[in-house]
């Protein structure tokens, strides 16, 4: 496939320079689609639609195919994600230890459901399968921090804690 020169697709708010830079980096690498998409997600925190069109044009791949790849792999996100990713385990051990109530409480307090993000982009909530620490069930994680033996009360504390943290990097 012939690779096109950098091309600007005008959009309202997405700065494509970052994506162009990622594409430049992998332009000549065979099988460059995955690293390009991963790089773009790294830059923007998700894969914005205009970057898909840009990748399609510059790598000469159909946008539909890129979308297929993005929806096939769970690692990719097509919508902006929260600064704090809350993951609650719903594996067997955690389930038995009361994970459903923990999940419900997060839903209530955050006002969002599974795989959704609060409008202020502070929190994204996800149910996940066994996190491999069944001894600490029920288990929750916020970004890289782990919270074991979760209770309804702890849910409130975690939210209060992270609500006060700064949003900037």
């Amino acid at each position: 496939m012939s690779n096109a020169p950098a091309e600007e697709i005008p959009t309202a708010d997405i700065d494509l320079a970052l994506a162009n830079h990622v594409i430049d980096k992998y332009l000549t690498l065979p099988g460059n689609l995955m690293p390009v998409l991963q790089g773009i997600q790294e830059e923007y925190g998700y894969v914005p639609k205009p970057t898909i069109d840009l990748v399609a044009e510059r790598l000469n791949i159909y946008p539909s195919q890129i979308y297929g790849v993005l929806t096939f792999y769970a690692q990719f996100h097509l919508k902006p994600r929260g600064k704090f990713i809350i993951r609650v385990c719903v594996g067997t051990a955690c389930h038995v230890q009361g994970a459903p109530r923990i999940v419900e409480t997060f839903f209530d307090k955050l006002g969002i459901g599974h795989a959704e993000t609060t409008p202020d982009l502070r929190f994204t909530f996800e149910k996940v399968a066994c996190l491999g620490a069944c001894g600490m069930a029920p288990l929750a994680m916020v970004n890289d921090s782990t919270y074991g033996s979760m209770t309804v009360q702890k849910v409130g504390e975690i939210i209060a804690d992270y609500s006060q943290r700064p949003m900037k990097k």
Partner: protein, 829 residues
């Protein structure tokens, strides 16, 4: 070759065959759902399971398994039947059983196989899909609840159409076929995906709830839009053409069509069709009887004849059948004693009738469609070849992607073809084609790359002398290309073992005339690349019968007036009577103002047409003619394929075929008996036009014939016209939009849904400089007029060049373009 046994039958097949292919060759049917002969093997549905003795009875898919020597295959054991039943049961688990309201019923592979395998109860249970149905799209309705995940739609759109609209999205149980962001379908609407979908997940929306499949009468015909000559099957009921039906066994294209062929048939039964003849009385067109109208026309023609035939002229569309064109020519030659006839504004057939005629001694392409895939290198002049002849575009896609044929494009814009792998596009300044092709020829001579035969061809020395001026260094700047790029292209072309040049023609391409055809012919003759497989030139005539019109000599051959001279004649009063059959010069000939003035001036104007076109509205007598679905006859298409069309419905309203109208007029003016039927005229064509010798209508059958061609080569130096550059202006080039062909597609629902009006397309840089955004209305102004058009902004147009398609009656581009290859315009908001 490989020998194997299938169900006790011995078969010998080529070694790249699959078990499915071998069974087919032996006349044994293996059921399939995801397999398609046009597509790469996929092996997804497991409907085609068979047992191979050497594999200890293991069940393997026949559609993907290659044959091996001595294989013993069983296609229907109890175990296999059970396995196939299971496949069907699992599919029916999710598939809604809404056959009573599904348009595919009767033509649905799942329904038919369920019936065949008697799957009358299901051991399993599951919830059905709850996907949203896309009812919004005007042409293709997508109901993914009915989808069986065979992937054929996505594969055909990728492998053959090269558009890539669909993908499998999501994973596991949520997987479905969708578009980018699961949004609306916004594609070329060729309908290929609808054609191959084995179920009712993709259906033609214009046909929805129109008729059950089994109630349709299926009539084979040929598409009446572009010159590709795709075969098609019309679905007819109650005297109406309700749809086109996919038949994978039709034509070189395996039944695939473009959007015009697939969704453009509605003009046939359009309620805008003329119902009766019209005669102008007191300045107004009024309904009249055929008797009255024909008597009047015959009397006026008799007058014209008696006056010597100099003051009568005829313009005819290359959409008529060969038999009708023959009668048109005969009416003028024998009936009226006039040579004032022409078609396609003259310039749109000059590449054949003047260019090829002088260079090759024939008016036909010295190549056939089959040469596309047999070549090693395709040199396409303008990416527009895809827009003008989309199904030939599919052939190019296939050749480039599957056979790894090299693709070189010289073009004034980028386009879809330029995106193909290995495509190298040389974007040159508009109107510089002849100079560029001459430069290629010059390089070939300068670097001694010519074929040994070249020096023996008449005119070699003169050509050599003329080409001396066209060294790449001399033309590089005017062409806007690097001298080295030109040299590389020349070397690639000369060194390819087989190379084919593809040249689209048409009313939108005034630069593709005699000189360009000759420059191209010189290139093929210099390199010995003509008259061999995979070589030569394929002239893509614009209309369904452009080649036929050239073959039959529907242009002045004895010093008569050509289209342009006819307009002049009308204006200065030397032509007083004009018959226009199917042409719409007001919209499609250069310089609308001049054409309108000419037609207003002519004393007696007769127009035969399906519709009250802009031209017909000026007539004194309008005769309602039949569409291709209402008559029989032959068309000759690109690559000299002569094929039959068959009458599918009775004439609409009081319409009469051009054949009937002209047959009557010829008889009354020559005093001879009318021809008995179409076959009789075809017989006379076969007797008088050498290329058609020996053919008969009956013997053409459903497949048609490829006409022979012999060439008498001659080098004819082709001079490049100087294109005056107007600084500060934009270069407007005209052409064809993918969804349209000529001015007739405006009466097809399909093309009009997708592309309802004219537009002007700009590159991003020019758009930014003019602060023009997609969808803005802009004023395009040239020396001959100005026009308001919607702007389209994209990556196709290079800086300084804009494009406008010509098909539209309102805001027709000929109001600003007067027939030059490049029109200089300014654009403002």
């Amino acid at each position: 070759m490989v020998n194997l046994t299938i169900d006790d039958t011995q078969v010998t097949v080529p070694k790249d065959a699959t078990i499915f292919d071998a069974a087919k060759a032996a006349g044994i049917r293996i059921p399939i759902l995801c397999h398609d002969k046009k597509l790469q093997p996929f092996g997804g549905c497991r409907m085609c399971l068979v047992e191979v003795e050497q594999m200890k009875g293991r069940q393997i898919p026949a559609c993907t398994t290659p044959v091996t020597e001595g294989m013993i295959v069983r296609t229907t054991t109890d175990e296999i039947v059970k396995a196939r039943k299971l496949v069907l049961e699992l599919l029916l688990l999710k598939h809604p059983i809404d056959c009573p309201v599904c348009d595919a019923a009767g033509d649905c592979d799942l329904q038919n196989l369920t019936y065949e395998y008697k799957v009358n109860l299901n051991r399993f249970q599951d919830e059905k899909f709850q996907h949203q149905i896309d009812y919004e799209n005007p042409l293709i309705e997508r109901d993914m609840n009915r989808c069986i995940h065979c992937g054929k739609c996505a594969r055909i759109c990728d492998e053959i159409v090269s558009y890539g609209a669909y993908t499998f999205m999501n994973r596991g149980i949520e997987a479905k076929i969708g578009t980018e962001f699961d949004g609306p379908l916004n594609c070329e609407f060729c309908g290929s995906c609808v054609s191959v979908c084995p179920v009712g997940a993709l259906i033609s929306r214009p046909f929805k709830f129109k008729a059950r499949w089994w109630a349709l009468n299926k009539v084979k015909s040929v598409c009446s839009y572009c010159g590709t000559g795709c075969q098609l099957t019309l679905g007819v009921k109650d005297g109406k053409v309700l749809t086109t039906i996919y038949d994978e066994n039709q034509g070189f294209h395996n039944g695939q069509l473009c959007t015009r062929g697939r969704f453009g048939y509605q003009f046939v039964n359009s309620d805008k069709r003329l119902a009766t003849p019209l005669i102008r009385k007191n300045g107004v067109l009024q309904q009249a009887s055929w008797d009255e109208a024909l008597t009047l026309v015959a009397a006026k023609l008799a007058e014209a004849k008696n006056a010597g035939g100099k003051a009568v002229a005829g313009l005819v569309t290359a959409r008529l059948t060969n038999e009708e064109l023959f009668l048109f020519k005969k009416l003028f030659k024998d009936g009226l004693g006039s040579d004032n006839i022409d078609h396609s504004a003259g310039y749109a057939h000059a590449a054949l009738t003047a260019g090829a005629m002088e260079s090759f001694g024939t008016v036909a392409s010295p190549a056939a469609i089959s040469d596309i895939q047999a070549s090693d290198l395709l040199l396409v002049v303008k990416t527009d070849a895809y827009e003008t002849h989309p199904v030939l575009g599919f052939e190019i896609n296939l050749g480039v992607k599957r056979k790894e044929i090299d693709l070189r494009i010289i073009s004034d814009k980028r386009g879809k073809l330029a995106k193909l792998p290995k495509a190298v596009t040389y974007v040159h300044k508009p109107g510089q084609e002849v100079a560029l092709v001459n430069a290629l020829a010059q390089v070939i001579l300068a670097e001694n790359l010519q074929d040994a035969t070249a020096t023996g061809i008449e005119g070699f020395e003169a050509l050599k002398q003329q080409l001396a001026d066209y060294a790449p260094e001399n033309v590089a700047a005017t062409c806007g290309l690097d001298a080295d790029a030109i040299k590389n292209l020349a070397r690639d072309y000369a060194k390819a073992a087989k190379a084919l040049i593809i040249l689209p023609l048409g009313l939108g391409y005034p630069g593709h005339g005699k000189a360009l055809a000759q420059a191209i012919a010189n290139l093929t003759l210099l390199t010995g690349k003509v008259g061999k497989e995979g070589c030569g030139v394929l002239y893509l005539g614009e209309k369904n019968n452009s080649q036929g019109a050239a073959d039959l000599g529907v242009y002045p051959t004895a010093g008569g007036a050509d289209a342009d001279a006819i307009m002049t004649g009308c204006l200065n009063g030397s032509i007083k009577t004009l018959i226009v059959a199917g042409e719409n010069p007001v919209v499609s000939y250069p310089d609308r103002k001049r054409v309108e003035a000419a037609l207003d001036k002519v004393e007696f104007l007769v127009v035969q047409d399906l519709f009250l076109t802009e031209t017909a509205a000026k007539a004194h007598v309008v005769l309602p003619a039949c569409s291709f679905a209402e008559k029989g006859g032959t068309y000759t298409s690109v690559g000299r394929a002569v094929q039959r069309i068959n009458q599918a419905i009775k004439p609409v309203g009081e319409a009469r075929s051009d054949f009937a109208i002209l047959n009557g007029l010829v008889a009354s003016l020559t005093g001879s008996a009318p021809y008995a039927d179409v076959a009789a005229v075809f017989a006379e064509i076969a007797a008088t036009v050498p290329a058609y010798a020996g053919l008969s209508l009956a013997e053409l059958g459903d497949t048609g014939a490829i006409l022979p061609v012999t060439i008498k080569p001659r080098f004819v130096p082709a001079g490049a016209a100087v294109i005056p550059v107007e600084s500060g202006k934009l270069a407007l080039v005209t052409g064809s939009a993918l969804y349209h062909c000529g001015t007739m597609s405006r009466f097809g629902e399909g093309p009009m849904h997708v592309c309802p009006e004219g537009y002007v397309e700009l590159g991003r840089d020019d758009a930014r400089a003019l602060s023009v955004k997609e969808g803005d209305t802009v004023v395009v102004k040239s020396a001959s007029g100005e026009l308001k058009l919607k702007a389209k902004v994209g990556t196709r147009m290079p800086q300084g060049v804009v494009f406008a398609p010509y098909h539209f009656g309102e805001a027709s581009v000929n109001s600003i373009a007067a027939g030059a290859a490049v029109t200089w315009v300014s654009i403002s908001k």
